[in-house]
Protein backbone atom coordinates (compact mmCIF):
# COMPACT_ATOMS: atom_id res chain seq x y z
CA UNK A 1 0.00 0.00 0.00
CA UNK A 2 1.35 3.36 -1.01
CA UNK A 3 -0.31 5.74 1.45
CA UNK A 4 -0.23 9.52 1.61
CA UNK A 5 -1.40 11.30 4.74
CA UNK A 6 -2.09 15.01 4.38
CA UNK A 7 -1.36 17.03 7.50
CA UNK A 8 -1.36 20.62 8.66
CA UNK A 9 0.34 22.56 11.39
CA UNK A 10 -2.08 24.41 13.67
CA UNK A 11 -2.11 26.11 17.07
CA UNK A 12 -2.92 23.86 20.01
CA UNK A 13 -6.64 23.66 20.86
CA UNK A 14 -5.86 24.94 24.36
CA UNK A 15 -4.41 28.17 22.89
CA UNK A 16 -6.00 31.53 23.55
CA UNK A 17 -6.24 32.89 20.03
CA UNK A 18 -6.36 36.63 19.41
CA UNK A 19 -6.20 38.99 16.45
CA UNK A 20 -4.58 42.36 16.00
CA UNK A 21 -4.59 44.35 12.74
CA UNK A 22 -5.82 41.26 10.93
CA UNK A 23 -2.93 39.11 12.19
CA UNK A 24 -3.89 36.07 14.23
CA UNK A 25 -1.66 35.09 17.15
CA UNK A 26 -1.75 32.46 19.88
CA UNK A 27 0.62 33.77 22.52
CA UNK A 28 3.15 31.31 23.87
CA UNK A 29 1.10 28.34 22.80
CA UNK A 30 3.00 25.85 20.66
CA UNK A 31 2.16 25.01 17.07
CA UNK A 32 1.26 21.35 16.80
CA UNK A 33 0.25 18.70 14.33
CA UNK A 34 -3.47 19.40 13.77
CA UNK A 35 -5.11 17.12 16.39
CA UNK A 36 -7.43 15.46 13.85
CA UNK A 37 -4.45 14.67 11.61
CA UNK A 38 -2.85 12.61 14.37
CA UNK A 39 -5.65 10.08 13.88
CA UNK A 40 -4.99 10.09 10.13
CA UNK A 41 -1.26 9.46 10.64
CA UNK A 42 -1.96 6.68 13.13
CA UNK A 43 -4.46 5.03 10.79
CA UNK A 44 -1.97 5.24 7.90
CA UNK A 45 0.70 3.57 10.03
CA UNK A 46 -1.68 0.81 11.13
CA UNK A 47 -2.66 0.07 7.52
CA UNK A 48 1.00 -0.08 6.52
CA UNK A 49 1.75 -2.40 9.44
CA UNK A 50 -1.09 -4.70 8.34
CA UNK A 51 -0.45 -4.62 4.59
CA UNK A 52 3.16 -3.40 4.21
CA UNK A 53 4.05 -0.50 1.92
CA UNK A 54 4.98 3.02 2.82
CA UNK A 55 3.48 6.19 4.27
CA UNK A 56 4.28 9.69 3.01
CA UNK A 57 3.26 12.68 5.12
CA UNK A 58 2.40 15.66 2.92
CA UNK A 59 1.83 19.22 4.04
CA UNK A 60 1.28 22.59 2.44
CA UNK A 61 2.48 25.44 4.60
CA UNK A 62 5.31 27.67 5.72
CA UNK A 63 8.76 26.27 6.46
CA UNK A 64 7.83 26.11 10.13
CA UNK A 65 5.34 23.37 9.19
CA UNK A 66 8.35 21.04 8.88
CA UNK A 67 8.01 20.60 12.64
CA UNK A 68 4.57 19.05 12.20
CA UNK A 69 5.96 16.81 9.44
CA UNK A 70 8.81 15.78 11.73
CA UNK A 71 6.29 14.60 14.28
CA UNK A 72 4.63 12.50 11.56
CA UNK A 73 8.07 11.06 10.74
CA UNK A 74 8.78 10.42 14.40
CA UNK A 75 5.48 8.54 14.69
CA UNK A 76 6.72 6.28 11.90
CA UNK A 77 6.03 7.73 8.43
CA UNK A 78 8.77 6.79 5.93
CA UNK A 79 8.82 10.09 4.13
CA UNK A 80 7.64 13.68 4.53
CA UNK A 81 7.22 16.33 1.86
CA UNK A 82 6.52 20.01 2.38
CA UNK A 83 4.92 22.10 -0.32
CA UNK A 84 6.10 25.62 0.25
CA UNK A 85 5.68 28.45 -2.19
CA UNK A 86 5.31 32.16 -1.38
CA UNK A 87 2.70 32.30 -4.14
CA UNK A 88 0.43 30.09 -2.03
CA UNK A 89 0.19 32.46 0.91
CA UNK A 90 -3.41 33.43 0.11
CA UNK A 91 -4.46 29.96 -0.97
CA UNK A 92 -8.13 29.16 -0.39
CA UNK A 93 -9.54 25.61 -0.18
CA UNK A 94 -9.97 25.50 -3.96
CA UNK A 95 -6.26 26.25 -4.47
CA UNK A 96 -5.14 23.98 -1.63
CA UNK A 97 -7.06 21.05 -3.11
CA UNK A 98 -5.58 21.68 -6.55
CA UNK A 99 -2.04 21.80 -5.15
CA UNK A 100 -2.46 18.69 -2.97
CA UNK A 101 -4.01 16.74 -5.85
CA UNK A 102 -1.09 17.70 -8.09
CA UNK A 103 1.41 16.64 -5.41
CA UNK A 104 -0.37 13.29 -4.94
CA UNK A 105 -0.16 12.72 -8.70
CA UNK A 106 3.53 13.55 -8.60
CA UNK A 107 4.14 11.08 -5.78
CA UNK A 108 2.47 8.57 -8.10
CA UNK A 109 0.94 5.09 -7.72
CA UNK A 110 -0.86 6.16 -4.55
CA UNK A 111 -3.46 3.70 -3.23
CA UNK A 112 -4.93 5.66 -0.35
CA UNK A 113 -4.90 9.27 0.83
CA UNK A 114 -5.82 9.99 4.43
CA UNK A 115 -6.96 13.26 5.99
CA UNK A 116 -8.16 14.33 9.42
CA UNK A 117 -11.81 15.41 9.34
CA UNK A 118 -10.75 19.05 9.29
CA UNK A 119 -8.23 21.43 10.76
CA UNK A 120 -8.81 23.14 14.10
CA UNK A 121 -7.86 26.55 12.68
CA UNK A 122 -9.91 27.25 9.54
CA UNK A 123 -12.13 24.28 10.12
CA UNK A 124 -13.66 24.08 6.65
CA UNK A 125 -13.54 20.26 6.65
CA UNK A 126 -13.66 20.12 2.85
CA UNK A 127 -10.06 19.64 1.78
CA UNK A 128 -10.26 15.82 1.68
CA UNK A 129 -13.49 15.73 -0.37
CA UNK A 130 -12.17 18.45 -2.69
CA UNK A 131 -8.91 16.60 -3.31
CA UNK A 132 -10.89 13.42 -4.02
CA UNK A 133 -13.04 15.30 -6.50
CA UNK A 134 -9.99 16.65 -8.30
CA UNK A 135 -8.44 13.19 -8.49
CA UNK A 136 -11.81 11.72 -9.48
CA UNK A 137 -11.41 9.12 -6.71
CA UNK A 138 -14.10 8.02 -4.28
CA UNK A 139 -14.22 9.93 -1.01
CA UNK A 140 -15.08 8.24 2.26
CA UNK A 141 -15.33 11.05 4.77
CA UNK A 142 -15.84 11.16 8.55
CA UNK A 143 -14.66 7.57 8.84
CA UNK A 144 -14.87 6.08 12.35
CA UNK A 145 -13.75 2.58 11.37
CA UNK A 146 -12.10 0.96 8.36
CA UNK A 147 -13.83 -2.41 8.52
CA UNK A 148 -12.01 -4.04 5.62
CA UNK A 149 -9.24 -3.20 3.23
CA UNK A 150 -8.21 -5.45 0.39
CA UNK A 151 -5.20 -4.11 -1.52
CA UNK A 152 -5.36 -6.92 -4.11
CA UNK A 153 -9.10 -6.78 -4.62
CA UNK A 154 -8.78 -2.97 -4.65
CA UNK A 155 -11.67 -2.43 -2.20
CA UNK A 156 -12.19 -0.62 1.09
CA UNK A 157 -15.18 -0.72 3.45
CA UNK A 158 -15.78 1.80 6.21
CA UNK A 159 -18.20 3.07 8.81
CA UNK A 160 -18.84 6.81 8.46
CA UNK A 161 -19.94 8.85 11.46
CA UNK A 162 -22.92 10.85 10.20
CA UNK A 163 -25.34 13.02 12.19
CA UNK A 164 -27.83 10.14 12.35
CA UNK A 165 -25.42 7.39 13.37
CA UNK A 166 -23.15 5.28 11.18
CA UNK A 167 -23.31 4.81 7.42
CA UNK A 168 -21.63 1.67 6.07
CA UNK A 169 -19.95 2.32 2.73
CA UNK A 170 -17.80 0.34 0.33
CA UNK A 171 -15.53 1.91 -2.27
CA UNK A 172 -12.74 1.05 -4.64
CA UNK A 173 -9.06 1.96 -4.43
CA UNK A 174 -7.46 4.38 -4.91
CA UNK A 175 -9.58 6.40 -2.51
CA UNK A 176 -9.51 9.41 -0.21
CA UNK A 177 -10.50 8.82 3.41
CA UNK A 178 -11.02 11.42 6.13
CA UNK A 179 -11.06 10.11 9.68
CA UNK A 180 -12.68 11.23 12.93
CA UNK A 181 -11.45 11.05 16.48
CA UNK A 182 -12.13 7.68 18.02
CA UNK A 183 -10.97 5.65 15.01
CA UNK A 184 -7.79 4.85 16.94
CA UNK A 185 -5.54 6.03 19.74
CA UNK A 186 -2.57 7.85 18.16
CA UNK A 187 0.83 6.58 19.31
CA UNK A 188 3.48 8.75 20.86
CA UNK A 189 6.68 9.08 18.85
CA UNK A 190 9.40 6.72 20.03
CA UNK A 191 12.85 7.94 21.02
CA UNK A 192 14.28 6.22 17.95
CA UNK A 193 11.59 7.80 15.82
CA UNK A 194 12.44 11.27 17.07
CA UNK A 195 16.12 10.72 16.34
CA UNK A 196 15.37 9.44 12.86
CA UNK A 197 13.03 12.37 12.17
CA UNK A 198 15.60 14.94 13.25
CA UNK A 199 18.06 13.60 10.68
CA UNK A 200 15.57 13.04 7.88
CA UNK A 201 15.93 14.87 4.60
CA UNK A 202 12.69 16.57 3.75
CA UNK A 203 12.03 17.56 0.15
CA UNK A 204 10.46 20.98 -0.30
CA UNK A 205 8.33 21.29 -3.41
CA UNK A 206 7.25 24.50 -5.12
CA UNK A 207 4.18 24.71 -7.32
CA UNK A 208 6.48 24.37 -10.35
CA UNK A 209 7.89 21.14 -8.87
CA UNK A 210 4.44 19.56 -8.85
CA UNK A 211 3.74 20.61 -12.41
CA UNK A 212 1.49 23.59 -11.82
CA UNK A 213 2.75 26.08 -14.39
CA UNK A 214 0.84 28.90 -12.85
CA UNK A 215 -0.46 29.31 -9.35
CA UNK A 216 -4.26 29.16 -9.41
CA UNK A 217 -6.14 32.27 -8.31
CA UNK A 218 -8.14 31.85 -5.10
CA UNK A 219 -11.91 32.27 -5.42
CA UNK A 220 -12.32 33.32 -1.80
CA UNK A 221 -10.75 36.21 0.06
CA UNK A 222 -11.13 37.10 3.73
CA UNK A 223 -11.11 40.86 4.13
CA UNK A 224 -11.53 40.85 7.89
CA UNK A 225 -10.70 38.68 10.90
CA UNK A 226 -12.04 39.83 14.23
CA UNK A 227 -12.79 38.69 17.75
CA UNK A 228 -16.41 37.93 18.63
CA UNK A 229 -18.16 40.46 20.82
CA UNK A 230 -17.60 39.57 24.43
CA UNK A 231 -20.98 38.90 25.91
CA UNK A 232 -20.91 40.05 29.49
CA UNK A 233 -22.90 37.54 31.45
CA UNK A 234 -23.70 38.18 35.05
CA UNK A 235 -23.92 34.75 36.61
CA UNK A 236 -26.80 34.53 39.05
CA UNK A 237 -25.76 31.95 41.65
CA UNK A 238 -28.70 29.90 42.87
CA UNK A 239 -28.43 29.01 46.53
CA UNK A 240 -30.49 27.25 49.15
CA UNK A 241 -30.43 25.14 52.30
CA UNK A 242 -30.98 21.81 50.56
CA UNK A 243 -30.47 20.49 47.02
CA UNK A 244 -34.29 20.39 46.69
CA UNK A 245 -34.51 24.09 47.51
CA UNK A 246 -31.74 24.98 45.03
CA UNK A 247 -33.33 22.80 42.34
CA UNK A 248 -36.78 24.33 42.90
CA UNK A 249 -35.39 27.86 42.60
CA UNK A 250 -33.42 27.02 39.47
CA UNK A 251 -36.43 25.30 37.88
CA UNK A 252 -38.59 28.37 38.63
CA UNK A 253 -36.03 30.74 37.14
CA UNK A 254 -35.73 28.66 33.96
CA UNK A 255 -39.50 28.69 33.56
CA UNK A 256 -39.63 32.45 34.18
CA UNK A 257 -36.99 32.96 31.49
CA UNK A 258 -39.13 30.89 29.10
CA UNK A 259 -36.24 28.67 28.00
CA UNK A 260 -38.13 25.47 28.82
Amino acid sequence: MNIVVCVKQTPDTAATVSVEDGVVSWGDSPLVLNPWDEYAVEEALRIREAHSGQVTALSLGPEAAMEALKLALAMGCEQAILINDPALEDADPLVVSKVLAAAIKKIGEVDLVLFGRGSVDNDTGITGPQVARRLNWPVLSLVADITSLDPEGRTIAVERMIDEGRQLVRGSLPAVVSVVKGINEPRYPSFMGIRKASRAEMPIWSTADIGLDEVPTPAMTWPEIFAPLKVETECEMIEGETPEEVAARLADRLIEEKVI
Binding site: A144, K181, P228, A248
Partner: protein
Protein backbone atom coordinates in the same frame (compact mmCIF):
# COMPACT_ATOMS: atom_id res chain seq x y z
CA UNK B 1 -36.12 35.42 -15.44
CA UNK B 2 -34.58 32.27 -14.10
CA UNK B 3 -34.25 31.95 -10.37
CA UNK B 4 -30.75 32.69 -9.23
CA UNK B 5 -30.98 31.73 -5.57
CA UNK B 6 -30.75 28.01 -4.93
CA UNK B 7 -31.34 26.17 -1.66
CA UNK B 8 -30.37 22.53 -1.18
CA UNK B 9 -32.66 20.37 0.96
CA UNK B 10 -30.84 17.77 3.06
CA UNK B 11 -32.88 14.86 4.37
CA UNK B 12 -32.36 11.46 5.94
CA UNK B 13 -34.74 8.54 6.28
CA UNK B 14 -37.58 10.53 4.70
CA UNK B 15 -37.18 13.37 7.21
CA UNK B 16 -35.92 16.80 6.24
CA UNK B 17 -33.26 18.16 8.58
CA UNK B 18 -34.72 21.34 10.15
CA UNK B 19 -31.58 23.21 9.12
CA UNK B 20 -32.66 22.75 5.48
CA UNK B 21 -35.68 24.99 6.10
CA UNK B 22 -33.36 27.58 7.61
CA UNK B 23 -31.51 27.51 4.27
CA UNK B 24 -34.78 27.98 2.36
CA UNK B 25 -35.64 30.89 4.67
CA UNK B 26 -32.31 32.60 3.97
CA UNK B 27 -32.69 31.94 0.23
CA UNK B 28 -36.18 33.48 0.35
CA UNK B 29 -35.07 36.69 2.04
CA UNK B 30 -32.07 36.99 -0.28
CA UNK B 31 -34.25 36.44 -3.36
CA UNK B 32 -36.75 39.04 -2.14
CA UNK B 33 -33.95 41.58 -1.69
CA UNK B 34 -32.50 40.86 -5.12
CA UNK B 35 -35.81 40.59 -6.94
CA UNK B 36 -35.24 36.97 -7.86
CA UNK B 37 -36.86 33.65 -7.02
CA UNK B 38 -35.92 30.62 -4.96
CA UNK B 39 -35.15 27.26 -6.51
CA UNK B 40 -34.95 24.36 -4.08
CA UNK B 41 -33.03 21.23 -5.06
CA UNK B 42 -34.30 17.91 -3.72
CA UNK B 43 -32.34 14.77 -4.55
CA UNK B 44 -33.29 11.29 -3.39
CA UNK B 45 -35.71 8.45 -4.01
CA UNK B 46 -39.44 8.78 -3.36
CA UNK B 47 -38.98 12.32 -2.13
CA UNK B 48 -41.80 14.09 -3.94
CA UNK B 49 -43.37 14.94 -0.59
CA UNK B 50 -40.21 16.79 0.38
CA UNK B 51 -40.40 18.76 -2.87
CA UNK B 52 -43.94 19.89 -2.02
CA UNK B 53 -42.90 20.78 1.52
CA UNK B 54 -40.08 22.93 0.11
CA UNK B 55 -42.70 25.11 -1.60
CA UNK B 56 -44.57 25.55 1.68
CA UNK B 57 -41.36 26.77 3.29
CA UNK B 58 -40.66 29.36 0.59
CA UNK B 59 -39.40 27.87 -2.69
CA UNK B 60 -40.90 29.10 -5.97
CA UNK B 61 -39.59 26.16 -7.90
CA UNK B 62 -38.24 22.76 -6.96
CA UNK B 63 -35.81 20.79 -9.05
CA UNK B 64 -36.60 17.21 -8.10
CA UNK B 65 -34.09 14.50 -8.89
CA UNK B 66 -35.98 11.35 -7.91
CA UNK B 67 -34.18 8.17 -8.80
CA UNK B 68 -33.52 4.76 -7.19
CA UNK B 69 -29.80 5.51 -7.62
CA UNK B 70 -30.23 8.39 -5.15
CA UNK B 71 -31.86 6.28 -2.44
CA UNK B 72 -28.75 6.65 -0.27
CA UNK B 73 -26.61 9.75 -0.11
CA UNK B 74 -23.41 9.16 -2.06
CA UNK B 75 -21.17 12.16 -2.55
CA UNK B 76 -20.10 11.54 -6.16
CA UNK B 77 -23.65 11.13 -7.46
CA UNK B 78 -25.17 13.94 -5.46
CA UNK B 79 -22.32 16.35 -6.25
CA UNK B 80 -22.47 15.55 -9.96
CA UNK B 81 -26.19 16.21 -10.14
CA UNK B 82 -26.14 19.29 -7.94
CA UNK B 83 -23.23 20.80 -9.90
CA UNK B 84 -25.17 20.31 -13.11
CA UNK B 85 -28.31 21.97 -11.70
CA UNK B 86 -26.63 24.85 -9.87
CA UNK B 87 -24.18 25.81 -12.62
CA UNK B 88 -26.24 28.87 -13.58
CA UNK B 89 -27.11 29.93 -10.04
CA UNK B 90 -25.88 33.13 -8.46
CA UNK B 91 -25.99 31.74 -4.93
CA UNK B 92 -26.27 28.17 -3.62
CA UNK B 93 -27.24 27.88 0.04
CA UNK B 94 -27.06 24.63 2.00
CA UNK B 95 -27.43 23.68 5.65
CA UNK B 96 -24.22 22.38 7.26
CA UNK B 97 -24.62 18.67 7.93
CA UNK B 98 -22.45 15.58 7.73
CA UNK B 99 -23.53 15.28 4.09
CA UNK B 100 -23.74 18.84 2.82
CA UNK B 101 -20.37 20.12 3.99
CA UNK B 102 -18.50 17.80 1.62
CA UNK B 103 -21.22 18.06 -1.01
CA UNK B 104 -20.82 21.85 -1.17
CA UNK B 105 -17.04 21.49 -1.29
CA UNK B 106 -17.22 19.04 -4.18
CA UNK B 107 -19.67 21.21 -6.13
CA UNK B 108 -17.24 24.11 -5.59
CA UNK B 109 -14.51 22.04 -7.29
CA UNK B 110 -16.80 21.06 -10.18
CA UNK B 111 -17.76 24.69 -10.79
CA UNK B 112 -14.34 26.13 -9.83
CA UNK B 113 -15.90 28.52 -7.34
CA UNK B 114 -15.65 29.54 -3.70
CA UNK B 115 -17.40 27.91 -0.79
CA UNK B 116 -17.84 29.13 2.79
CA UNK B 117 -19.00 26.61 5.42
CA UNK B 118 -20.61 27.29 8.83
CA UNK B 119 -21.84 30.77 7.96
CA UNK B 120 -23.46 32.51 10.95
CA UNK B 121 -24.40 35.85 9.34
CA UNK B 122 -23.91 37.76 6.12
CA UNK B 123 -24.43 41.07 4.38
CA UNK B 124 -24.72 42.00 0.73
CA UNK B 125 -21.65 43.91 -0.40
CA UNK B 126 -21.88 45.10 -4.00
CA UNK B 127 -22.57 42.04 -6.12
CA UNK B 128 -21.37 39.58 -3.55
CA UNK B 129 -22.28 37.99 -0.24
CA UNK B 130 -19.92 38.98 2.54
CA UNK B 131 -20.33 36.08 4.93
CA UNK B 132 -19.16 35.73 8.52
CA UNK B 133 -17.95 32.37 9.77
CA UNK B 134 -16.20 31.16 12.91
CA UNK B 135 -12.57 30.03 12.81
CA UNK B 136 -10.51 28.50 15.62
CA UNK B 137 -13.82 27.01 16.82
CA UNK B 138 -15.40 30.42 17.27
CA UNK B 139 -12.52 31.97 19.20
CA UNK B 140 -12.34 34.30 16.17
CA UNK B 141 -14.63 35.21 13.31
CA UNK B 142 -13.73 35.91 9.72
CA UNK B 143 -15.55 37.62 6.88
CA UNK B 144 -15.22 35.78 3.60
CA UNK B 145 -16.29 36.68 0.12
CA UNK B 146 -16.27 35.15 -3.34
CA UNK B 147 -16.08 38.20 -5.60
CA UNK B 148 -15.90 36.85 -9.12
CA UNK B 149 -16.70 33.18 -9.43
CA UNK B 150 -20.30 31.99 -9.46
CA UNK B 151 -22.27 30.51 -7.90
CA UNK B 152 -21.31 31.69 -4.44
CA UNK B 153 -21.73 28.65 -2.21
CA UNK B 154 -22.44 28.98 1.49
CA UNK B 155 -23.48 26.43 4.09
CA UNK B 156 -25.29 27.80 7.14
CA UNK B 157 -24.39 26.97 10.71
CA UNK B 158 -27.40 25.12 12.13
CA UNK B 159 -29.68 27.33 14.28
CA UNK B 160 -27.86 30.54 13.31
CA UNK B 161 -30.81 31.65 11.14
CA UNK B 162 -34.54 31.50 11.89
CA UNK B 163 -36.61 28.63 10.60
CA UNK B 164 -39.47 29.96 8.47
CA UNK B 165 -43.07 28.95 9.16
CA UNK B 166 -44.57 26.73 6.45
CA UNK B 167 -47.55 28.19 4.56
CA UNK B 168 -49.74 25.49 3.10
CA UNK B 169 -51.32 27.84 0.53
CA UNK B 170 -48.03 28.82 -1.14
CA UNK B 171 -47.71 27.71 -4.72
CA UNK B 172 -44.78 26.76 -6.87
CA UNK B 173 -43.79 24.29 -9.53
CA UNK B 174 -41.99 21.00 -9.20
CA UNK B 175 -39.73 20.19 -12.15
CA UNK B 176 -38.40 16.69 -12.48
CA UNK B 177 -34.78 16.59 -13.54
CA UNK B 178 -32.41 13.94 -14.81
CA UNK B 179 -29.86 12.55 -12.43
CA UNK B 180 -26.26 12.80 -13.58
CA UNK B 181 -24.81 9.34 -13.09
CA UNK B 182 -21.06 9.39 -13.53
CA UNK B 183 -18.69 6.60 -12.69
CA UNK B 184 -20.33 5.71 -9.39
CA UNK B 185 -17.62 4.48 -7.13
CA UNK B 186 -19.14 3.95 -3.71
CA UNK B 187 -21.86 1.67 -2.47
CA UNK B 188 -23.87 2.09 0.73
CA UNK B 189 -24.27 -1.26 2.46
CA UNK B 190 -26.17 -0.28 5.59
CA UNK B 191 -26.76 1.97 8.57
CA UNK B 192 -26.37 1.76 12.32
CA UNK B 193 -28.54 4.09 14.39
CA UNK B 194 -26.99 6.89 16.39
CA UNK B 195 -25.49 6.47 19.82
CA UNK B 196 -26.67 9.99 20.51
CA UNK B 197 -30.50 9.97 20.42
CA UNK B 198 -31.62 13.58 19.86
CA UNK B 199 -29.23 15.20 17.35
CA UNK B 200 -26.83 17.54 19.14
CA UNK B 201 -26.58 20.18 16.43
CA UNK B 202 -30.38 20.48 15.97
CA UNK B 203 -31.23 20.39 19.67
CA UNK B 204 -32.90 23.39 21.35
CA UNK B 205 -31.70 22.15 24.74
CA UNK B 206 -28.53 20.22 25.57
CA UNK B 207 -27.57 18.71 28.92
CA UNK B 208 -23.88 17.81 29.10
CA UNK B 209 -21.74 15.93 31.56
CA UNK B 210 -18.03 16.30 32.19
CA UNK B 211 -15.27 14.56 34.04
CA UNK B 212 -17.08 15.40 37.28
CA UNK B 213 -19.75 12.74 36.63
CA UNK B 214 -17.40 10.01 37.89
CA UNK B 215 -16.63 11.72 41.20
CA UNK B 216 -19.54 10.57 43.35
CA UNK B 217 -17.90 9.49 46.61
CA UNK B 218 -21.17 8.00 47.91
CA UNK B 219 -21.21 5.26 45.29
CA UNK B 220 -19.58 1.89 45.85
CA UNK B 221 -19.01 -0.15 42.71
CA UNK B 222 -20.25 -3.75 42.80
CA UNK B 223 -17.76 -6.29 44.14
CA UNK B 224 -17.23 -8.04 40.81
CA UNK B 225 -15.65 -4.85 39.39
CA UNK B 226 -12.16 -4.84 40.82
CA UNK B 227 -10.18 -2.95 38.19
CA UNK B 228 -9.72 0.68 39.21
CA UNK B 229 -10.37 2.07 35.71
CA UNK B 230 -13.51 -0.05 35.38
CA UNK B 231 -14.71 1.21 38.76
CA UNK B 232 -14.21 4.77 37.54
CA UNK B 233 -16.18 4.06 34.37
CA UNK B 234 -18.93 2.39 36.37
CA UNK B 235 -19.15 5.53 38.56
CA UNK B 236 -19.23 7.71 35.45
CA UNK B 237 -22.08 5.64 34.00
CA UNK B 238 -24.14 6.22 37.15
CA UNK B 239 -23.37 9.93 36.82
CA UNK B 240 -24.34 10.03 33.16
CA UNK B 241 -27.59 8.24 34.01
CA UNK B 242 -28.52 11.32 36.09
CA UNK B 243 -27.54 13.61 33.21
CA UNK B 244 -29.62 11.48 30.82
CA UNK B 245 -32.67 11.63 33.11
CA UNK B 246 -32.49 15.42 33.14
CA UNK B 247 -32.01 15.50 29.35
CA UNK B 248 -35.03 13.24 28.81
CA UNK B 249 -37.19 15.34 31.11
CA UNK B 250 -36.34 18.41 29.05
CA UNK B 251 -36.58 16.65 25.67
CA UNK B 252 -32.93 17.58 25.31
CA UNK B 253 -29.93 16.06 23.60
CA UNK B 254 -27.15 14.71 25.78
CA UNK B 255 -23.59 15.95 25.36
CA UNK B 256 -20.22 15.49 27.01
CA UNK B 257 -16.90 17.23 27.44
CA UNK B 258 -13.68 16.01 25.87
CA UNK B 259 -12.39 15.00 29.28
CA UNK B 260 -15.35 12.63 29.72
CA UNK B 261 -14.93 11.18 26.21
CA UNK B 262 -11.17 10.74 26.55
CA UNK B 263 -11.64 9.03 29.91
CA UNK B 264 -13.81 6.46 28.11
CA UNK B 265 -17.06 7.38 29.89
CA UNK B 266 -19.13 8.07 26.79
CA UNK B 267 -18.83 7.76 22.96
CA UNK B 268 -17.13 10.45 20.92
CA UNK B 269 -20.35 11.10 18.98
CA UNK B 270 -21.55 13.07 22.03
CA UNK B 271 -18.49 15.30 22.43
CA UNK B 272 -19.14 19.04 22.43
CA UNK B 273 -16.15 21.31 21.83
CA UNK B 274 -13.46 22.31 19.42
CA UNK B 275 -12.64 18.72 18.43
CA UNK B 276 -16.23 17.57 18.77
CA UNK B 277 -19.54 19.16 17.82
CA UNK B 278 -20.04 22.91 17.87
CA UNK B 279 -23.53 23.62 19.18
CA UNK B 280 -25.75 26.63 19.69
CA UNK B 281 -28.87 25.62 21.63
CA UNK B 282 -31.34 27.90 23.43
CA UNK B 283 -30.33 26.29 26.73
CA UNK B 284 -27.09 24.49 27.62
CA UNK B 285 -26.88 22.80 31.01
CA UNK B 286 -23.28 21.91 31.97
CA UNK B 287 -23.03 19.31 34.74
CA UNK B 288 -19.63 18.70 36.28
CA UNK B 289 -17.89 20.58 33.46
CA UNK B 290 -15.21 23.01 34.56
CA UNK B 291 -15.06 24.80 31.19
CA UNK B 292 -11.75 24.11 29.46
CA UNK B 293 -11.20 26.58 26.62
CA UNK B 294 -11.71 23.89 24.01
CA UNK B 295 -15.11 22.97 25.49
CA UNK B 296 -16.21 26.61 25.74
CA UNK B 297 -15.30 27.04 22.07
CA UNK B 298 -17.94 24.47 21.20
CA UNK B 299 -20.88 25.88 23.17
CA UNK B 300 -20.24 29.55 23.89
CA UNK B 301 -22.90 30.73 21.43
CA UNK B 302 -25.64 28.94 23.40
CA UNK B 303 -28.36 31.46 24.21
CA UNK B 304 -28.42 30.55 27.89
CA UNK B 305 -25.92 28.52 29.88
CA UNK B 306 -26.58 26.91 33.25
CA UNK B 307 -23.57 25.57 35.14
CA UNK B 308 -23.67 23.04 37.96
CA UNK B 309 -20.21 22.48 39.41
CA UNK B 310 -18.65 21.82 42.76
CA UNK B 311 -15.91 24.41 42.22
CA UNK B 312 -17.44 27.90 42.30
CA UNK B 313 -14.27 29.29 40.68
CA UNK B 314 -14.60 27.09 37.57
CA UNK B 315 -14.34 29.06 34.29
CA UNK B 316 -17.73 27.75 33.12
CA UNK B 317 -19.45 30.19 35.53
CA UNK B 318 -18.04 33.14 33.58
CA UNK B 319 -20.29 32.21 30.65
CA UNK B 320 -23.25 31.05 32.70
CA UNK B 321 -26.50 32.95 33.26
CA UNK B 322 -27.37 30.70 36.21
CA UNK B 323 -24.92 28.82 38.35
CA UNK B 324 -25.09 26.31 41.14
CA UNK B 325 -21.94 25.74 43.17
CA UNK B 326 -22.79 22.30 44.39
CA UNK B 327 -22.61 18.57 43.97
CA UNK B 328 -24.16 17.49 40.68
CA UNK B 329 -25.14 14.14 42.25
CA UNK B 330 -27.50 16.01 44.58
CA UNK B 331 -28.53 18.91 42.36
CA UNK B 332 -29.16 17.15 39.03
CA UNK B 333 -31.66 14.54 40.31
CA UNK B 334 -33.39 17.20 42.43
CA UNK B 335 -33.63 19.43 39.35
CA UNK B 336 -35.06 16.55 37.31
CA UNK B 337 -37.75 16.01 39.97
CA UNK B 338 -38.51 19.72 40.25
CA UNK B 339 -38.88 20.06 36.49
CA UNK B 340 -41.01 16.93 36.16
CA UNK B 341 -43.39 18.40 38.71
CA UNK B 342 -43.56 21.78 36.99
CA UNK B 343 -43.75 20.45 33.45
CA UNK B 344 -46.39 17.91 34.47
CA UNK B 345 -44.32 14.87 33.49
Amino acid sequence: MANKIFAYIDHFGGQVLPASWEAVGVARSLADQLGSGVTAVVLGHEVEGIANQSIEYGADQVLLGDDPELKDYRPELFAGTLSHLAAEAEVLILPTTSRTRELAGMVAVDLETGMAPDVISFEIDGDAILATRPIYAGKLLTKVVCREKRPQIITLRTRAFPKPEPESDRSGEVVRVEVVIGEVVTEVTGYKPSEAGVSLTDAAIIVSGGRGVSNNPKLTPPNEITDEKEQEIWRAQQGFALVRDLAETLGAAMGASRAAVDAGYIPYALQVGQTGKVVSPDLYVACGISGAIQHLAGMRTSKMIVAINRDSEAPIFKLARFGVAGDLFDIVPALTRALKERLGK
